[in-house]
């Protein structure tokens, strides 16, 4: 693949972009130059300002200061329509697709074609480009019928249809298996080879190194450097991104796994739509070990976690905690039996956003804070204060609604509440999703401490690096079943990736596209 051979002409220049949100400067005086025919990676931690900057370029946000130049000409992008007309298309992290519409309808939405819609013609119009975008699904398929990877291809197809010369992809691989990501990289490289500019937003070092020609690193809303991929490496990028060196090795101390504390046998459960989501999952967690559960989002992980926590009735199978059958037990009985649950949506099922920290801490242990028929708010406040100090949670006041807290502190509060009840089994679903490096490390430490003290932990995560770092064993969930399990010591990413993509654990490994 030709690298660095692309002509050095600027397609887009961003100069001194400033964007403020109430209480935070998301972009502070950022310069960025994008060239024709390059894949340009925008690297940074959560909250570094990558998405904000790209939303400015896509006309969604108006910058508070700074200018944008296209082919040397200043241009004002007041709306997404302006950006589309200027040839800039963005594939958002949350796809901008109308789910009940067909692929063709989504592609043609907002484009200038005839007023009358005759279904056959719409589909014929997009069929050729669909091939080019690597979309295998029929243009008459409805979006909700497609896999996440295919939906992403529809977004790329939309950009191609609008003759975009600049394609921005915001964290495009977050929802993909490693193999799907490889295939996406091939498509992106071929788009760059056609002279288009591809902006690849990511916080994953290895991906950025494998797909980009040049890499711009943002940190805390500031531009900290633009590097040629050929003349840098992951450690240097990591240093720029985080502002210090980060450890890549496993953080896990060797430990003795004890007896089986949680046993799940042939569990079945339905999704919110009433379709089978967990379809015969079996697994077991021992005392003092972390079982990592990998898988692409939407393969039944959430439903499994909820079935274990007691908020989703299993339709079949068996759940045992310390040998006791809890399959039909209420959530309250499971808590009393020593089960702690850290759900994936902190402010949805985890904490009540409008209530203060004390009330949230009290929620799961109301019986402990009682004075006659009344609540003993004072003892609960004391306990909360202790937890806040012990876990290093930052908050303006104990009486403030918790929704005002940052994601990292919310997660710490949630963990503090769950872990302070001295659980014997912890189910943690995506505990570090959306957290910055510091908060992530704190959460990791908390989980490892629990492991060291003999708690059995089921860690559900989409971040393979995290799973490899923390888990003793890694199980992979695919379409509601456990597709396979590997020991973390001899885990190899390719095998896990194949299982995540539905290729059985025993199938011969196929060559990943491109390489």
């Amino acid at each position: 693949m030709p690298r660095g051979g692309a002509p050095v002409t600027s397609a887009i220049e961003l100069r001194g972009i400033v964007k403020r949100f109430p209480g935070v400067v998301a972009n502070s005086n950022i310069d960025l130059e994008l060239r024709h025919g390059e894949v340009h990676a925008l690297l940074g931690e959560n909250g570094a300002g990558k998405s904000t900057l790209m939303s400015v370029l896509a006309g969604i946000y108006q910058p508070d200061a700074g200018s944008i130049l296209i082919d040397g000409e200043p241009i004002a992008l007041r709306s997404p329509r302006d950006a589309i007309q200027a040839g800039i298309a963005m594939v958002h992290q949350h796809f901008r697709l109308v789910k009940p519409f067909t692929v063709a309808e989504n592609v043609l939405l907002g484009a200038r074609t005839s007023w009358l819609l005759s279904p056959g013609r719409l589909e014929a119009e997009v069929a050729d480009l669909a091939q080019q975008a690597g979309l295998k699904a029929s243009p008459s398929a409805r979006i909700w019928q497609l896999s996440v990877g295919e939906q992403q291809r529809v977004e790329i197809l939309k950009a191609l249809y609008r003759k975009a010369r600049v394609l921005i992809l915001d964290e495009p691989t977050a929802v993909l298996t490693p193999q799907e990501a490889e295939a996406l990289f091939v498509t992106l490289r071929s788009m760059a080879a056609d002279g288009r500019t591809v902006v690849f937003v990511s916080h994953k070092l290895s991906e950025v190194m494998s797909v980009a020609d040049r890499i711009t690193v943002l940190r805390g809303g500031k531009h900290v450097g633009t590097l040629e991929t050929a003349s840098t490496d992951e450690h240097r990028l990591a240093h720029l991104m985080v502002g210090r060196d980060i450890a890549f090795e496993s953080a896990r101390a060797p430990g003795e796994a004890g007896e089986i504390v949680l046993r799940v046998d042939d569990l079945h459960a339905l999704s919110d739509l009433g379709l089978p989501a967990v379809r015969g999952a079996s697994l077991s967690v021992r005392a003092g070990e972390i079982l990592g559960l990998a898988g692409v989002a939407g393969n039944g992980q959430r439903e499994l976690a909820e079935a274990l926590a007691g908020t989703r009735p299993p339709t079949r199978g068996r759940i045992e905690l310390y040998g006791a059958d809890l399959t039909r037990a209420s959530a309250r009985r499971r808590i009393e039996a020593g089960l702690a649950y850290v759900p994936e949506d902190r402010l949805g099922t985890g904490l009540v956003g409008a209530m203060d920290a004390t009330a949230n801490v009290m929620l799961k242990s109301l019986s402990k804070h009682r004075r006659g028929p009344l609540l003993d708010y004072r003892s609960a406040a004391r306990r909360t204060k202790d937890l806040v100090e012990q876990f290093g949670i930052k908050m303006s006041s104990l009486d403030a609604p918790v929704r005002l807290m940052s994601g990292g502190n919310l997660q710490k509060l949630l963990l503090a509440r769950e872990l302070s009840s001295s659980p014997r089994v912890v189910i943690a679903a995506h505990p570090t999703a959306g957290l910055d490096v510091g908060a992530t490390e704190a959460v990791h430490e908390l989980l490892l401490e629990q492991r060291a003290s003999g708690v059995g932990i089921l860690l559900i995560s989409e971040d393979l690096d995290e799973l490899l770092m923390l888990s003793d064993r890694i199980a992979v969930m695919y379409e509601g079943e456990i597709a396979g399990e590997v020991s973390a010591d001899d885990a190899d990413l390719e095998r896990i990736g194949l299982m995540m993509g539905g290729t059985g654990a025993d199938a011969p490994p196929m060559a990943a596209g491109g390489g």
Binding site: R96, L97, V98, G110, K158, L273
Partner: protein, 310 residues
């Protein structure tokens, strides 16, 4: 019951249902764009009183209808300003608008309560079509506004599902972010949808005071706007099914009155209650989980859209 009686019930059912059909189709247009217009009842009242007053002044029922449509659209424009531009809560705003309209129309129509209108819409038998056995008598011996509904309902369906305008409108109701990113105007589309929906509600009201029961009585819509909103769910946001449902509900209403004429000793209050009872039954039936999942409510229904939200 004789077949003659059944035909009479359906003839009256179509007429009674037409009010509901106009209002429900208007509500579908608004809701398909993502705006829950709970002010339908108020917009119908505005259409009814305005239509009646104008007809009384100029002695031209069509001008009355036009005035009623404008009144509904104007009130809807107010709703759009509040919920689309100022992002006020759609439920509270809609309710407030109804209460406002009840008072306002009562005041405006004070002098004409019980006054007979100079001219009204009369039934016209459509030549040819009215000769079709049974169906001809039910569907084609009606007034001009009923015939107008025969045109507007399929036209609305066709625009919603077979034209770019409809695709854009539906995308705004399903996923305003997507519509915005595709360069469509979420605000403009919602304004248009709400105002057109209000125009339909105004037409529904004018139909009541000029054709169905030619007169003005305070609060004469008597909750039909709410039935229309329930009908939208019953019809799963399709104008064609809304027409079907409207005629069904209308027939229930007509049935009640016929029961009296055949000598059944039933309280008028009981009869007046029937369509509403039917509405509750229908709402309970379609609100069951299993049915709910299959319903195609616009995803963004009831939510204001703010581009720079984070």
């Amino acid at each position: 019951m004789s077949s003659e009686l059944i035909i009479t019930i359906f003839v009256a059912g179509i007429a009674a249902g037409t009010t509901l059909v106009f209002a429900a189709v208007g509500e579908i247009i608004a809701e398909r764009s993502g705006v829950l217009n709970l002010g339908v009842e108020g917009m119908m009242l505005a259409g009814a009183v305005t239509g009646f007053l104008v007809n009384r002044q100029v002695r031209a029922p069509w001008l009355g209808v036009a005035a009623g449509i404008s009144a509904g659209a104007t009130l809807a424009l107010l709703l759009a300003v509040l919920v689309v531009s100022f992002k006020a809560n759609q439920v509270v705003t809609g309710l407030a608008l109804v209460i406002f309209a009840i008072g306002m129309t009562g005041y405006l129509g004070e002098s004409v309560v019980g006054v007979p209108p100079p001219v009204t819409f009369n039934r016209i038998a459509l030549p040819g079509l009215s000769d079709i056995p049974v169906l001809g008598r039910i569907f084609f011996v009606q007034d001009a506004l009923v015939y107008l509904s025969y045109v507007l309902v399929p036209a609305t369906w066709w625009i919603l599902f077979r034209t770019r305008t409809g695709l854009n409108l539906r995308s705004v109701g399903e996923s305003p972010e997507t519509a915005d990113a595709a360069g469509l105007s979420v605000t403009g589309t919602r304004y248009a949808a709400v105002v057109i929906g209000g125009a339909f509600a105004g037409l529904a009201g004018a139909y009541l005071s000029l054709a169905r029961a030619p007169s003005w009585v305070p609060n004469m819509t008597a909750g039909r706007g709410w039935i229309a909103i329930a009908l939208v769910i019953f019809a799963t946001w399709s104008p064609l099914r809304a027409a079907l449902g409207g005629y069904l509900f209308g027939s229930v209403e007509a049935l009640g009155f016929r029961l009296q004429t055949v000598g059944l000793e039933v309280s008028t209050f009981f009869i007046a209650m029937m369509p509403y009872l039917f509405t509750i039954v229908v709402l309970v039936l379609i609100s069951r989980g299993s049915v709910q999942r299959r319903l195609a409510a616009p995803s963004a229904l009831g939510n204001a859209y703010l581009r720079e939200e984070r």
